[in-house]
């Protein structure tokens, strides 16, 4: 059982002052094994905060990130799954599923995690799963109206990954979960 936090588009401090207090109290060091961050933190303080949550921190570059050294894309293997990470502003049209699927094939990964649209998404697509953790601070987006703060926690266990999405709606944290199973080349899923 490996816990992976997928988080991004915080846009601190240019679009938001900080993570919501309720999220902060939930995210404590020592519980998560990996963090994959889609980008647009934007400042070093946020990087340090995430690093403190979990030393295994993987970040790709968002177009507003202070640190220009983050890579455009990243791949890593966790357990039986290959994960791909990219902010998403590079993939035009933004948020387009087919275009993202192309990126997934290009990176050759089971799970692709991207951001940029600030809208949570998790769906199965052909050979894999595409996840967008949304914006952890609910930052303004030209693409999405009424952004609720959200992040994703993936529980990778053997050939199965359970995707928990945490959303802050009207001051309350709501959790939903989606199951994905990897069978040979194809991944099947059951949504709740």
């Amino acid at each position: 059982m490996v816990l992976v936090l997928a988080i991004g588009d915080l846009h601190v401090p240019y679009r938001a002052p900080d993570l919501p207090a309720k999220f902060k109290s939930m995210l404590v060091p020592g519980k998560i094994q990996h963090i994959i961050c889609t980008g647009n933190l934007c400042i070093k303080e946020v990087h340090d905060y995430l690093k403190n949550l979990c030393p295994s921190l993987h970040i790709t570059r968002g177009e507003y990130d202070e640190d220009a050294q983050y890579p455009e894309t990243k791949t890593l293997t966790i357990g039986q799954f290959k994960l791909g990470l990219c902010h998403g502003h590079q993939v035009v049209p933004w948020g387009d599923l087919d275009s993202l699927a192309m990126l997934q094939r290009q990176l050759d990964v089971d799970i692709l995690v991207t951001g940029h649209t600030h809208q949570f998404k998790a769906y199965k697509h052909e050979a894999g799963v595409v996840i967008n953790p949304g914006s952890a601070t609910g930052a303004y987006s030209s693409i999405t109206y009424d952004v609720n703060p959200s992040f994703v926690l993936m529980d990778i266990d053997g050939l199965r990954v359970v995707v928990y999405v945490y959303e802050l709606i009207d001051g309350e944290v709501k959790v939903d979960k989606i199951d994905f199973k990897k069978t040979g080349t194809a991944t099947s899923h059951s949504a709740h």
Partner: protein, 694 residues
């Protein structure tokens, strides 16, 4: 060398003294056992002679005294038992006065006096009066203090207090009070005189020795507070005035500090409240070197706790006008003690402010008054350079923030900005950070343009260069932290009413524009997004708000945004500006403002053409342009074509071939928009594609 010898000698003398006491005690016990009064008196006198020494320090003298004290207790029991020695107490009282030396004589007299009072053969007040006056014969400070201390100890339970057995006709509480006051007065005089006696000694050593004896003097005040019959009236009319008289007249700083402290500790807070004026009246009369602020702070602390103890007490505070009195007293002290350094005055104000916040937290006018008094003091002094003084001013300014948890309240204090004006640039920044942190911590929202204006004035040290301190001189990390704090702050400025919100945005803009090129990249983006959020809100509202001034409209806001982003060109910060222009373009598109959106795109392209030189930056920027353009649906065919053509052209001109391919491929989506208008220009698409692949 000398000192070491001295200590050794003292040990020797003490040992000798103790030996002397033990020696005589042996014979004394034998005399007492055989009921031999004459022998008992002889040996007790000899024993007490050891206390006549001048050679011991107070600490060592005390050890000697305690041994003698023990012996006197047994002697007293013997004296009490008339059957054993056959002498009436009256005769005994006269008999002991035949002792040769004055000190032993007086110790014996006090001891007999104790028995005399217990016997009730004479009124307590007469005996006590006699004793306290007789003790005058011993004027040596240490010897006199211990003698009178002995008197105080044995008389303690024999005072004619209300309800005591010694109360009788003629014997009243006032007699008890008079006795204790007199003993106290004489003891204080002796105590003060200690510094003048003997060879010239090092001041620290002397002060230390005197400190060791202070409780002997203070004990009298404690006794006074314990006398049941001393009610508020007596305290107010007799006790306090006479004690204060002695305190002031002795003109000794050690004594004054200790005794004022003692008074405050020992008597009930209720009394202090009712005698506030008298008590405070003493302060300006004290020696300049007395650390008044500590004593006053103590007093105010106690009163604060008293106020907090029960709600019923509060009206009393108002009735005696406690705050006004304290305020005046502090003013008088500062005036009287011209030599007092600024830090002293400020810390007094900090104590007063703390008092006001704890006792009268609803009276913002009191808080403002204290700040005002502080401003006056600061205005009269040269610019603050003293570190400690600066810390005190910061403490003064932080206290209301912590009390009220709400920046709004601090912003209404008219003197608050004036106090901040007196801080040097560095401290202003520290205070500014404190303000911002307070807002962030309590999640406060600053909701009017007016308040925002005041706030940004307060934190001006962060917003712009003041007083010649350049941003260059600052450590880069620190500078970033500061500016990021300001950026975060912008998100806490909000009002539901669009008009007010627009005013807030304009106010912020006014302030940050003075920040200079180094600050703009930090402060402009949050303002831009704040404005874009307002645009979105206005989209949701239908129609225009009629009436008065020109209402807030998206168009107006876009105008403003254009100007704000343009300021970034002075930095220069082209990539950031480009991104912000694109954000505005999208927002304008959503408002269906085609020309406005087009204008933003034009600006973005200009920046791309002229300023974005780095190839990696170009790749990102062109993708952002393409991505944004792909989402545009407000453009008519002509505008769309122009922009698409430009985007495709630049894509083909990227440095590296793979980048060219990807960008041009992305551009293909510009010809294939899946919306109601159904622009699916397959032909054009093919043309462009082919054109770029040759």
């Amino acid at each position: 060398m000398m000192i070491a010898d001295g200590i050794e000698d003292e040990e020797k003398w003490l040992a000798e003294g103790i030996a002397g006491i033990q020696h005589n005690a042996f014979y004394l016990h034998r005399a007492v056992d055989s009921n031999n009064l004459r022998e008992a008196l002889k040996y007790s006198a000899q024993l007490l002679s050891e206390l006549r020494t001048s050679r011991l320090s107070p600490h060592k003298y005390y050890e000697l005294y305690m041994r003698a004290f023990d012996e006197l207790r047994r002697l007293e029991m013997f004296f009490k038992d008339e059957e054993r020695h056959g002498c009436s107490v009256l005769d005994l009282y006269e008999l002991v006065q035949h002792a040769g030396n004055v000190l032993p004589r007086l110790y014996l007299l006090c001891t007999v006096g104790s028995v005399y009072i217990k016997s009730k053969e004479a009124p307590a007040k007469d005996v006590l009066k006699d004793l306290v006056e007789m003790c005058r014969s011993v004027q040596h400070p240490i010897r006199g203090l211990f003698l009178r201390s002995y008197l105080a100890q044995i008389s303690r339970d024999k005072l004619p207090d209300i309800g005591s057995e010694y109360e009788g006709d003629g014997d009243t509480v006032m007699d008890a009070v008079d006795f204790v006051l007199q003993n106290f007065t004489e003891m204080n005089k002796l105590w003060v005189r200690m510094q003048h006696q003997g060879p010239i000694r090092v001041k620290e050593k002397l002060d230390k020795e005197r400190s060791e004896l202070r409780d002997l003097v203070g004990k009298n005040l404690h006794v006074l507070s314990q006398i049941e019959g001393v009610d508020l009236e007596i305290y107010k009319d007799t006790v306090l005035p006479r004690v204060l008289e002695q305190v002031v007249n002795c003109k000794d700083e050690l004594a004054q500090h200790y005794l004022m402290d003692c008074i405050i500790q020992v008597f009930p807070d209720e009394y202090h409240l009712q005698t506030l004026e008298t008590l405070l009246g003493a302060f300006p009369q004290l020696q300049p070197a007395v650390d008044i602020k500590t004593v006053l702070s103590q007093l105010m602390d106690r009163l604060s706790n008293y106020a907090a103890s029960s709600a019923e007490v509060l009206p009393e505070f108002l009735q005696v006008e406690a705050f006004a009195k304290l305020s005046n007293a502090i003013g008088k002290v500062i005036e009287a003690q011209v030599e007092m350094p600024v830090v002293g005055a400020i810390s007094l104000y900090v104590s007063l402010l703390t008092f006001a916040l704890r006792v009268h937290s609803d009276r913002l006018d009191y808080v403002d008054q204290v700040l005002g008094a502080c401003v006056k003091k600061l205005s009269g002094s040269p610019k603050l350079e003293d570190n400690k003084a600066t810390k005190q001013v910061v403490a003064l300014l932080t206290a209301p923030l912590e009390k009220y948890n709400d920046i709004d309240t601090a912003l209404t204090l008219s003197n608050y900005p004036h106090v901040m004006d007196h801080l040097d640039a560095g401290t202003n920044k520290i205070m500014a950070m404190v303000l911002i942190q307070s807002i962030m911590k309590y999640n406060t929202c600053v909701s009017t343009a007016e308040k925002v204006d005041v706030l940004f004035e307060l934190i001006k040290g962060l917003i712009k260069d003041i007083d010649g301190t350049l941003a260059d001189e600052l450590d880069e990390e620190d500078f970033k932290e500061e500016q990021n704090s300001v950026a975060r702050l912008v998100h806490m400025l909000y009002n539901d009413d669009p008009e007010e919100m627009l005013q807030i945005i304009c106010t912020v803009r006014k302030h940050i524009m003075a920040g200079g090129p180094k600050r703009l990249p930090f402060t402009v983006p949050p303002l831009v997004f704040s404005a874009l959020k307002l645009v979105r809100r206005l989209q949701g509202l239908d129609g225009e708000v009629a009436g008065e001034e020109v209402p807030a409209t998206p168009r107006k806001i876009f105008q403003l945004l254009n100007q704000i982003i343009e300021a970034l060109s002075n930095v220069p910060s082209p990539e950031l500006a480009l991104r912000l222009y694109l954000q505005c373009a999208e927002a304008a598109n959503d408002c269906d403002l085609e020309p406005v959106a087009y204008e933003f795109f034009t600006q973005a392209f200009v920046l791309y053409e002229e300023e974005v030189a780095d190839s990696k930056a170009q790749v990102t920027s062109i993708h952002l342009i393409i991505g944004t353009l792909q989402r545009m649906n407000a453009f008519g065919v002509e505008n769309r074509d122009t922009l698409t053509h430009k985007a495709t052209g630049y894509s083909a001109k990227l440095l590296k071939k793979p980048d060219q391919c990807r960008a041009v491929y992305a551009c293909s989506h510009l010809f294939w928009v899946d919306d109601q208008d159904g622009i699916k220009d397959g032909e054009r698409f093919k043309l462009i594609f082919r054109h770029n692949w040759t």
